[in-house]
Subunit: 405 residues, 2 copies
């Protein structure tokens, strides 16, 4: 496996004023082409840090890519650092720089002329890399078997020059990486369930939980990956999203679409998160009709026809209210299925009987009426997010169990 180290220069990255994106992008492209990225280092502007980092990795990796520090300002020192590292003088590369000048209108050329030295010079013996999107030349050379490239940090320029200079390195030969998204499993339980695959020494596996899903990334020989993916699907029937599908919401829409089933929500504590999750996905309108976000009791009564008596007897956080809300949404939107959510998101409003984190879900429509109680840990943000994820999972499961395919 070919190995790379990626370096980004910039005080603005280290002060958190800007997020690094170039190395992340390149890492992804290299990974897809079967490379292993050993490190990404974000280092300050200036000579010392870059020289130290180069000294650490030159000769120990196949490729080093540097992002940034090639522009015209005083803190752009990459050219100088590379010249010192190579122990070679900087030379203006007139031919390459004239190609850049020619792209600009004549009135701008005069200013660019001043930048010739700062942006158009390259250490003696190194290659100048043409910049199709700007005026700073890139630099490339070989040192102790390591190819070292430097591109400007402006994302457009970095990407264009990397695509050009690293075309061979980034070409995807075969499928050495595959990602599976698992729904409805907490990371800790999932780990035990998929132990046979995780323990396979011929694969490199990453397990990445994000809200409501866990992503399993498999890397290794294509045949081993294929086999592991099959095993995972067998170990987790119905819980792996299909290829090309990245969220529960997306899969829910797909499953509902297959069955010609339309959906609606009645949301209290999620306040619109469920609707937002489905409408995030383009083309959701054929399946998703709408959501009644009824935060106040009067809205529940008026829009969802939850009776005052019911609210008085059982309260808004109850199976009775949840079912009435789901039926109300079904009726208002005319959908085949409706899901309701009503709970205590906190931090206020909890009681002994209905503590913060208690959330009722109800389904109505083709599946009949049912209600479920969950208790979610965490703060308001987490409780609302868990309620949204659980609601989507419940509805997906319900849709998949409908016998109308």
């Amino acid at each position: 496996m070919k190995q790379a180290v990626l370096i980004a220069l910039g005080d603005e990255l280290l002060s958190g004023a800007r997020r690094e994106g170039n190395c992340g992008w390149l890492a992804n492209r290299l990974a897809l082409a079967g490379w292993k990225v050993l490190r990404m280092e974000i280092i300050p502007d200036g000579l010392g840090a870059l020289e130290d980092t180069l000294a650490l990795w030159a000769g120990k990796t196949d490729l080093i890519v540097i992002s940034g520090g090639l522009g015209p300002t005083h803190d752009d020192c990459t050219r100088k650092a590379l010249a010192r590292f190579l122990n070679a003088p900087l030379q203006v590369n007139a031919e390459a720089y004239n190609r850049i000048l020619a792209r600009y209108p004549s009135e701008m050329r005069e200013n660019l002329e001043l930048c010739r030295i700062s942006q158009g010079s390259v250490p003696e013996g190194a290659q100048a890399i043409h910049n199709p999107r700007g005026s700073a030349l890139g630099i490339s050379f070989l040192m102790e078997g390591t190819k070292i490239c430097a591109f400007p940090g402006v994302p457009d320029e970095f990407k264009a020059m990397a695509e050009q200079e690293l075309a061979c390195e980034m070409s995807v030969s075969d499928c050495r990486m595959r990602s599976l998204i698992v729904v409805g499993w907490p990371e800790s339980l999932l780990k035990d369930r998929i132990a046979p695959v995780v323990d396979d020494p011929s694969l490199h596996i990453s397990i990445l939980p994000s809200s409501g899903t866990v992503e399993i990334i498999l890397r290794g020989e294509p045949v081993r990956i294929e086999c592991a993916a099959r095993t995972l699907r067998e170990l987790l029937p119905g819980d792996c999203l299909p290829e090309g599908c990245f969220s529960v919401a997306e899969d829910l829409l797909r499953e509902a679409r297959k069955r010609n089933v339309t959906l609606a929500f009645a949301e209290s504590c999620t306040g619109g998160l469920l609707g937002a999750a489905l409408t995030d996905i383009s083309g959701s309108s054929d399946v998703f009709l709408g959501s009644a976000v009824c935060y106040s009791n009067s809205a529940k009564t008026h829009i969802l026809s939850v009776s005052d008596e019911l609210l008085e007897s059982f309260g808004a956080v109850s199976s009775e209210c949840a079912i009435a809300m789901a039926k109300g949404a079904l009726n208002q939107f005319g959908s085949e299925l409706a899901l309701s959510v009503t709970g205590v998101a906190g931090p206020g409003g909890g009681s002994e009987e209905k503590p913060v984190g208690a959330v009722w879900f109800a389904l109505a429509g083709l599946c009949g009426e049912r209600a479920f109680l969950h208790h979610f840990p965490g703060d308001r943000l987490q409780i609302r997010r868990s309620a949204m994820n659980t609601g989507l999972l419940l509805l997906r499961k319900t849709v998949m169990e409908l016998n109308i395919l």
Copy 2:
């Protein structure tokens, strides 16, 4: 100036499957508190890389913060690496872990018990850091004058634990820094507007745009900051949020509450984002009654009483439909003000007359009826987010102009 090195572990970061965000966030917080971040290093899962990096920086910097590798899965090796680095055995910290267990319902506890060792152990002599948002304990210790902390990589958990454990380090001690949040200005125009303040050589100013707001951070002598903040509020009347208020939604609720005005939404292309933004904030129920997410035309007709004729003559993305939707929400929820949003979020559904990014907003209620057309650039995600931000700004402005204080 105190110095820090930030380390993020994760093969998924090095393969570009996930973008690093924790160190970027912390770098920003530390920079605001006057720290200098020397490096951010993204290193692979496993023992060796972390031990090497710690050996390189321990004793040479005031603080090292590690993100990731504390979860229950096989690739989570931070605990083991720290124990080896400290040359001390791992010990289960029963007290801290029982506090976590107590938060979970009893049926989940049994499974978590199994994770005790993997998530609840800490090297002998190191401190266990309580995790308020999850089950993996953090670790903290001092080595050669360097404070070394490790937090889980899950962003919510990382941030909550860093806020808690690094409260002193991140505290902005005196009035040498002030942050102002400006709403409704694109960064490029804002820079010209506030040039007199930006050009003041006695201040250090950072301008950080985030979605819908721009944060201006002023650093320098307290007197100069005070003066600059006053000038900024004069240059941007009504566009700076009050001290202690961090989002447009929060300020909107505050302004509405002052005037005893209740709010409701009718959402089409935002699909619930507006409702979710207000209900994100605890205690919003006294002001926010609800939102009718009417994605389909039939829902607009049925719930918001938008007539079929209107939809046929003008279409759903029109000032006429927007006003009818706002009136429908006003009527359904019985609020004092209602805002509607209907537009083309794309990527499909655009036409020459109504291109992708065209979004109508309408207000109804105490302010009378008005409609506004905006054209937003970007993809579906950006258009929906811009529509949400613009909707909140419009409603905030409308509330502030009501003469009923």
